[in-house]
Amino acid sequence: MERMALGKAITAGLRAAMDRDPRVVLMGEDIGKLGGVFRVTDGLQKDFGEDRVIDTPLAEAGIVGTATGMALRGYRPVCEIQFNGFVYPAVNQIVTQLAKLRARSRGRLSVPVVIRMPAGGGIGSVEHHSESPEALFAHVAGLRVVTPASAHDAYWMVQQSIASADPVLFLEPERRYWEKGDVDVDLAPGQVTPLHRARVLRAGTDATVVAYGPTVRLALDAAAAAAEDGTQLEVVDLRSISPMDVDTVAESVQRTGRLVVVQEAPTFFGAGAELAARVQERCFYSLEAPVQRVGGFHVPYPVARVEEHYLPGIDRVLDAVDRALAA
């Protein structure tokens, strides 16, 4: 067991992957001497050299496009997109090439590229630095989308993502980078939770609350608060957006009869919609209330001074739980 901040756990995971496999290379803006704006790659260029930790020109299409080419040559590139709002210049490469090359070649081409990016808000940033674009990528066939919520998962999931033969979007909960947690670095591969498996973090009987990335801590806090009023919430960390582990969620909902999904992204066309659609189908007869969604609003992410009102808070989670229990 080692105690690490979530961001440092990613650093440790990257280091472990680079030690293990010389074909793992990192690419991104300011990831070298600076160590990235969140210092996630801190020290890696010093230790692995400029050929494996590449400070790239300021062009996201370039980062993902050249990473795709390196993967075609046999490398395993890990791209860093500096902030969630800056992934869009790379969307053409991600959607039309990276995601489709395997299918286009009927499995002959493999492009194991990982795209890391900070996601979510809550750190008082200026525009474009606080968005949660997971739904856009989850809708694109050929991509996998995952997000850790704890230091332990951050350490292991980044390594699992690098090991994946498919392209993976790895979303890092921005405002949790500094949150410390225990990381069990000594697990044998078999002991690590599979990358795309959801996990029940707290058992409960009255309702199931599903969260992922930055909202997991919120869901746990809400569950603690609800417990004081005698309401037992079961908290599930989804961990993977694509694929989505509906089995784990459905099993929980069959017991609790109620579901609340909490995300930072706008609810409209978000992950909560997909989960609600599947759960109402799988658990139609065990659902005692409509699935409730809590998330961002369908407006551009607001200015820092009001983001606390945009982001789901305990109040909004508990209101949704109340709505579910009231039905």
Binding site: E29, D30, G32, K33, L34, G35, V37, E50, D51, D55, T56, P57, L58, A59, A61, G62, G85, F86, Y88, P89, G124, S125, V126, E127, H128, F268, F297, H298, V299, P300, P302, V303, A304, R305, V306, H309, Y310, D315, R316, D319
Partner: protein
């Protein structure tokens, strides 16, 4: 392995009207002839811009701003370019071009409101013909070209009527030169002969990356590949920047098409207040540029011209202090945004889902206010 090639050492001569010691030089194509008062006004602009930077940095340290991106070292480039524009020209600045904004008579508190986190946009773009700061690198350039195509379609190019002919100036950095959209904007402007001046401040750095990481050749040579003139100007020489940008804007207004200007300068401060330059550049690197300071240089020039007397200096210092005081007080007095306002401008016309979300938000907010009022006895 063979990797990153040698960077773009600046071989070509730059347009320069003041040498580093402030001695006036003359240039065959580019020159200016400013009256003494105009010259003093230029100094005033430079001094106030630098003061804005100092105050904003302090305010950020005191927690009054969330972030600050400073323009220290680039005042010559920004003031020169701003003074070259006419009121009806359209400006597309980046997050660092405070000189471009002040030069258009915009209240700097609008700029600070963005970095305080109370406003994304700030000033009224139409009133000042200055587009909001664009934070996505290079994303302002294609809209700037499109705006220029609109000007062409309005018949406001090449009429010879100074009150009518209009141009666009679009700012970008050295790092921005790597974005594909930048290349599209340049080539597009050339193909349509749009009245756009691209003003690239090469301050040698894109956060931690030196310009060599962005390009193999001097940035102004990008212009050749796009099919427009590229001019290299000393970005720490306010007169040279004024002269070069003015003639480029004149050319654009006259229907001569786009120009790309590279202002060779240096980012003296950190990228932003969240940056730590000691990780990637040496003090020596920075010191080498201190001697080229654009304000010292210009002041030396005015002094040698005998345009600086104590009265002026005292008045300017007083004005700067008042300016600073107004900033300090003004920032703290900036109105806190109304949370409900986030729903107001996502769409011009009502959007069903947004309306529903707004109503739910307001209801929940009111409810929780009552609750907490009940608990705290009103003190929330």
């Amino acid at each position: 392995m063979s990797d990153a090639a040698a960077g773009p050492a600046r071989t070509e001569p730059m347009v320069q009207l003041l040498d580093p010691s402030g001695v006036r030089r003359h240039h065959p194509e580019h020159d200016v002839d400013l009256a003494p008062d105009e010259l003093r006004d230029v100094l005033r602009d430079l001094v106030l811009l630098r003061r804005l930077d100092a105050e904003a940095e302090a305010l950020q340290r005191q927690g009054e701003l969330g972030l600050w991106a400073g323009s220290r070292g680039q005042e010559g480039a920004q003031v020169g370019a701003a003074r070259a524009t006419r009121p009806h020209d359209q400006v597309f600045p980046t997050y660092r071009d405070h000189g471009a904004v002040l030069g258009r008579g915009i209240d700097p508190l609008h700029v600070l409101s963005l970095y305080r986190g109370t406003d994304h946009g700030g000033w009224d773009p139409a009133a000042h013909r200055v587009h909001p700061y664009t934070l996505v690198i290079a994303a302002q350039l294609l809209p700037a070209v499109g705006y220029g195509m609109g000007i062409q379609r309005d018949g406001a190019v090449g009429t010879g009527d100074p009150a009518r002919d209009t141009a666009v100036i679009a700012y970008l950095g050295d790092g921005a030169s790597s974005q594909g959209e930048t290349a599209e904007a340049l080539s597009w402007a050339a193909v349509f002969n749009a009245p756009v001046v691209f003003f690239c401040q090469n301050n040698q750095w894109a956060i931690s990356e030196p310009v060599e990481r962005q390009t193999r050749v001097p940035i102004h040579r990008r212009a050749e590949g796009a099919g427009m003139p590229g001019v290299l100007v000393d970005g720490n020489d306010v007169l040279a920047c004024l002269a070069v940008v003015r003639s480029a804007l004149d050319r654009a207004r006259a229907g001569g098409g786009p120009t790309f200007v590279e202002a060779y300068t240096y980012r003296m401060g950190a990228h932003t207040t969240s940056d730590d330059p000691t990780r990637y550049r040496s003090a020596a690197d920075v010191d080498a540029w201190r001697d080229k300071d654009p304000i010292d240089r210009f002041r030396a020039h005015l002094a040698s011209e005998g345009l600086l007397d104590e009265a002026f200096e005292t008045a300017l210092a007083a004005e700067a202090d008042a300016f600073a005081e107004r900033l300090r007080a003004g920032v703290r007095a900036l109105p806190e945004p109304d949370p409900a306002a986030m729903f107001d401008h996502a769409y011009a016309e009502p959007h069903t889902q947004v309306v529903e979300e707004r109503d739910e938000f307001l209801a929940a907010w009111a409810r929780h206010d009552e609750e907490s009022a009940a608990i705290t006895g009103g003190a929330r």
